[in-house]
Symmetry: C2
Subunit: 193 residues, 2 copies
DNA sequence: ACCCTCTGTTGAGCAATGCTCAATAGCGTG
DNA sequence: CACGCTATTGAGCATTGCTCAACAGAGGGT
């Protein structure tokens, strides 16, 4: 088996086991056993367990990024709305998996130069800034908005099915508006004093 | 040494070591050594390492909650403003410590009925709802706002000192306004369409 | 056909760590 | 002084992250 295939296989196994327990608690033996290889081989591909951990979380991040990206050709506020919708879908349909991802990326936050956690946040914040033609000064607010969006999505996805589908459209509208409002520093400053 | 003192001592040690490495990576031996006791004793007080972990994070959460609580007698929007200010202070003055807390609480998020992470979030959200007399329907937005506030505080506290002190007042004003706007569902819906 | 190298792979083994348990020490009480 | 209670110990077990020297077998050059 070629190295690239092996890596994919191993990371793939991590992505699946991920849901059940945090990657940190996952033993190398288990992964190796699931792959039908020896412990040693895993260390051949990922010199450290943390490296493996990082690879798995990074792959998860890329997957989410793919899933929430808007269709080609959709631009402006419509793109933002689509991202919000897809983000809600993502969190709703695979809630535990997403929660596991949040945990995994947080565990890695220490000494992570290419912090894989940032993948999704950066992507969404960038997209929002671009599509709404926001000034550079609005970037922190846009990033904060992503945190807001994620929290709302996690709360919402924990609701019983009935309330969830009922409130979905309102939530989308609210979050889209929220981005505009939070990044419109002048308006918001005057709004409440 | 009385059991209560021992517990306090052990948790206190955890609170201090906490900054350097995640509680999860902290070995029982180290804690025991720092306390001048044997491994075994630690397991006498905290049957599982996770229990110890939880105790430390819970204590950290209580400490933050104390630090951000507004003064007695301060009510309404002033109370919210004070919480925001104190929250920024907290994150700024002990950034690594706060980051460690975020990590610690996330690590525990699995199967945590009395999730200590919630301590601070719940506290701030409750306070905001109460002081601004928000309806129950605004609760999710208030919780989301806490996530927004935390993210902004973490971004801001990473800035070089100059920009930090310059932007501080604006950030406080922005966050206080943001709470009002995010929870005023009608306004925000109409505001941007 | 033989050997040789290169690389994916193995498995034994080390050190650290979470955890258990029987035994001890020290103190207050009858 | 003896007794019991409880905080405390330290040896020991199983697991786990990680190292390393050795193996297998496919391809190529002679």
């Amino acid at each position: 088996m070629t190295p690239q295939e092996r890596r994919r296989q191993l990371v793939g196994i991590g992505l699946r086991m991920f849901v059940e327990r945090p990657v940190g608690d996952l033993s190398v033996d288990e992964v190796a056993a699931a792959a039908g290889v020896s412990r040693g081989l895993l260390f051949h591909y990922f010199p450290t367990k943390t490296d493996y951990h990082r690879a798995v979380v990074a792959a998860a991040g890329r997957r989410v990024r793919r899933n929430v990206a808007p269709d080609d050709g959709v631009v402006g506020e419509a793109a933002v709305r689509q991202v919000v919708e897809r983000f809600l879908d993502q969190v709703e349909r695979r809630r535990e998996w997403y929660v596991a991802l949040v945990r995994g990326r947080t565990e890695l936050s220490r000494a992570a130069p290419d912090d894989p956690m940032e993948t999704v946040t950066e992507f969404v914040a960038d997209l929002a800034c671009r599509e709404l033609a926001l000034p550079a000064s609005a970037r922190p607010a846009a990033r904060g908005w992503v945190a807001y969006l994620e929290d709302r999505a996690l709360q919402w996805s924990a609701l019983p099915e009935r309330e969830r589908s009922a409130g979905r459209d309102d939530l989308v509208a609210h979050c889209v508006s929220a981005l505009a409002v939070l990044t419109a520093t002048d308006e918001i400053r005057g709004g409440v004093s």
